[in-house]
Symmetry: C2
Subunit: 207 residues, 2 copies
């Protein structure tokens, strides 16, 4: 199945993963996990996609779960980085919120293969690894909540339930990874713009 899909989008995808053989395995694992899910993917499938024998996987990674952890960790780091960059970009709260949603959604759409694994295969991680990842997600939550809170205090926003609205905004963005299809009619930029508009409407002060 699958030609090359798109290996994964944009700028320097997994450059930090070395050596090259380990990166090939990781990229293969991302594709396989995204297509079939972690539990339905076999180590033979991953190794095969990377053009290696099953045994080669265990030279670079201790277990299949470690592969998922590495993917999840790097993916969450990047998604959080994108969010924080927008939050620290300056401007009004509305401008910062719009930019945060726009770039966070764009990331989930452009890299939807990675994002699907990162966002929906969390339960397959072991206890320790999962708590580490959950901590990163709390930080994403804090970033969005902070922008919304500041917007409320500045009188830009009208938000009766700040934690609830924060949750809804993040939920909306994350779910893009589930339904986004590269062959579909929308580009990542278009989805980002649409979602930024929708979120601004959700928090807008009544006039």
């Amino acid at each position: 199945m699958s030609t090359a899909e798109e290996t994964d989008g944009g700028s320097a995808p997994w450059a930090e993963v070395t050596p090259e053989a380990a990166r090939r395995l990781l990229v293969a694992a991302v594709e396989a996990f995204a297509e079939r899910g972690y539990h339905a993917t076999t180590t033979r499938d991953i190794a095969g996609r990377a053009g290696m024998s099953p045994a080669a996987l265990y030279i670079h990674y201790k277990t299949k779960e470690e592969l998922l952890h590495r993917i999840s960790r790097i993916g969450h780091d990047r998604a959080l980085f994108v969010l924080e960059a927008a939050a620290d970009g300056g401007g009004t709260a509305a401008e910062r919120l719009a930019e945060a949603v726009r770039s966070f959604v764009r990331w989930h759409a452009e890299r939807h293969t990675t994002a699907r694994v990162v966002q929906y295969e969390l339960d397959a991680l072991g206890e320790e690894h999962r708590t580490e990842i959950v901590e990163l997600r709390r930080k994403s939550d804090a970033v969005v909540r902070r922008i919304i809170s500041e917007g409320v205090q500045a009188g830009e926003f009208d938000v009766p339930d700040i934690p609830g609205t924060t949750l809804a905004v993040l939920s909306l963005c994350i779910d893009v990874a589930r339904w986004f299809n590269a062959q579909g009619s929308r580009t990542p930029d278009e989805v980002g713009d649409l979602y930024a508009d929708l979120v601004l409407r959700m928090v807008a002060a009544k006039r």
Copy 2:
């Protein structure tokens, strides 16, 4: 693991599934699939939760996949029924949209165990069964799109991108099944009210 969880919420949960032994198995499968995912769940686990031997499962269901299909089919039927009831309830487009979101979200929160299986284990279905379910999902989409379109035509709503906004509304509601936690601080009713408010803001005409 797990005491009784809550077997699944409210009114006559799986009454239409007979005989009783088949229902017990199905309820056990819903719990197991929701906790661990379809592929990580074994037939031995399902049978064990239902208090039977592994072989008993195959008297009532031909395969493990058939169990998932039955769950998915019934779940989608119910969710769609809830949506359509609200859509046909009368009133302004805003009232109907609010009620649709409120009850759809409430369903996903109250029955989040079932909903998680229904919404997130679709890929595990076989080709034929999956296309059958996808058809039901298209109907949900059509229901929401229709309300929004009518609201726009009546001048109640201002929605530049009707298909995109429809997608976002459904995505927001469905994702409740992923994060909702019965032990959390919010009741299904509260989440339903919050989300109905947020969605109305998304489509509201500017004043």
